[in-house]
């Protein structure tokens, strides 16, 4: 299968099985999502909305739809996947494009717990309380992968930063070098191993525990989940990661196959994964 790569939204996007026209459309789709949802572009719609905290502001249909999905994800995961953790990620030090992050002597800022219930979305109008800022990265990338896959006319796949959605089956390498056959849907991995940096010598990462507003102290380093869509896989992987030792059971109750890697490198599969892959 022919594959093409490009950089967008701070990660590598890989597209397999596309025609030249489909690849152009996928590039444009990712570029548009980056323009609208980037935390690091002062002119992005996300930053315009965040600057308007304290009053209602009209947003584009794409923004409203994405925020609606993010709020539904928060509701379905009891707030584990929270779209209001922007200030917490910034307090931990992730306040610029990841490539330009350097070790800093200052200690991280105070934790900022999630507050998704205080976000108001009425039609195409968003209301944020003062001091609250949205960070929709938790769903934007996976939604972009799902939407990009729809642009392929035949079998193929789209992967962004390791979130893979496929049509027609695909063998996918897992973080520890194992491989699995993705028959239907998508695979996503949440990891504290890649996007990590130090603040005053203390290791920080971007997976924030919404209860404390600080980088999660989960016992897992990487969690891979298989969902019907990339969005489902991504939400499941994040929730599984943040729940720590309760993650495998929580995902089993939803029949979502998932595989967990600890910091020591030992792999644990939940029952759904074990049944499917033996």
């Amino acid at each position: 299968m022919k594959t093409d790569c490009f950089e967008s939204m701070g990660c590598e996007v890989v597209v397999g099985g596309s025609t030249a026209q489909e690849l152009r459309a996928i590039r444009e789709l990712f570029a548009e999502r980056d323009r609208v949802f980037s935390r690091f572009r002062p002119d992005s719609e996300l930053n315009r909305v965040n600057r308007s905290a304290g009053r209602f502001v009209a947003v584009s249909p794409l923004f409203a739809q994405t925020l609606a999905v993010a709020l539904l994800a928060a509701r379905e995961t009891d707030g584990l996947v929270d779209p209001t953790l922007g200030p917490a990620v910034e307090a931990a030090g992730y306040d610029r494009d990841f490539a330009s992050l350097a070790p800093v002597e200052e200690p991280p800022g105070a934790g900022r717990p999630g507050a998704w219930r205080s976000v108001l979305l009425i039609g195409r109008h968003v209301g944020l309380p003062r001091g609250l800022r949205l960070d929709l990265n938790g769903v934007v990338k996976s939604l972009a992968v799902d939407d990009a896959l729809k642009l392929l006319s035949g079998p193929g796949f789209v992967s962004a930063g390791g979130d893979v959605a496929a049509r027609g089956g695909l063998t996918v390498a897992l973080p520890d070098g194992e491989a699995v056959s993705l028959r239907q849907g998508a695979l996503a991995t949440s990891s504290s191993a890649k996007r990590r940096w130090t603040r005053n010598g203390e290791v920080q990462h971007h997976l924030i525990d919404p209860a404390t507003g600080r980088p999660s102290a989960s016992l897992w380093e990487q969690v891979t989940a298989c969902g019907a869509s990339c969005l489902a896989a991504d939400i499941a992987a994040k929730a599984g990661f943040l729940l720590g030792e309760d993650g495998p059971g929580w995902l089993d109750r939803r029949r979502i196959p998932a595989r967990f890697l600890s910091a020591r490198g030992s792999a644990t599969a939940n029952e759904s994964w074990a049944v499917a892959c033996t």
Binding site: G16, V172, A186
Partner: protein
């Protein structure tokens, strides 16, 4: 003779008043319909609550935490999943 002319005149006046009232009401009603159909700020459809369409919400909720299907690998990997 004079009485009968007066009666006729009164009847004609009553008929004229009735015709004017009917015509006026008709013109008013037609003007209302015209305004409803052509004035830009006039609501032309029943109003709906401002929220995401129920179908969108139900589709998203139904797919939000649905499982995909994995199986043991049978071929070399063509893609990889790794944390971002």
């Amino acid at each position: 003779m004079k009485d009968s002319r007066l009666r006729v005149a009164r009847r004609r006046a009553r008929t004229a008043k009735l015709a004017l009232a009917t015509g006026g009401s008709l013109v008013f009603g037609l003007a209302m319909l015209f305004a409803r159909g052509s004035y830009a700020g006039h609501p032309k459809r029943p109003t709906h609550p401002l929220s995401a369409p129920p179908r969108f919400v139900s589709v998203v909720r139904a797919n939000l935490l649905q499982a995909g299907i994995v199986a043991p690998a049978e071929a070399p990997p063509q893609a990889s999943t790794s944390g971002s």
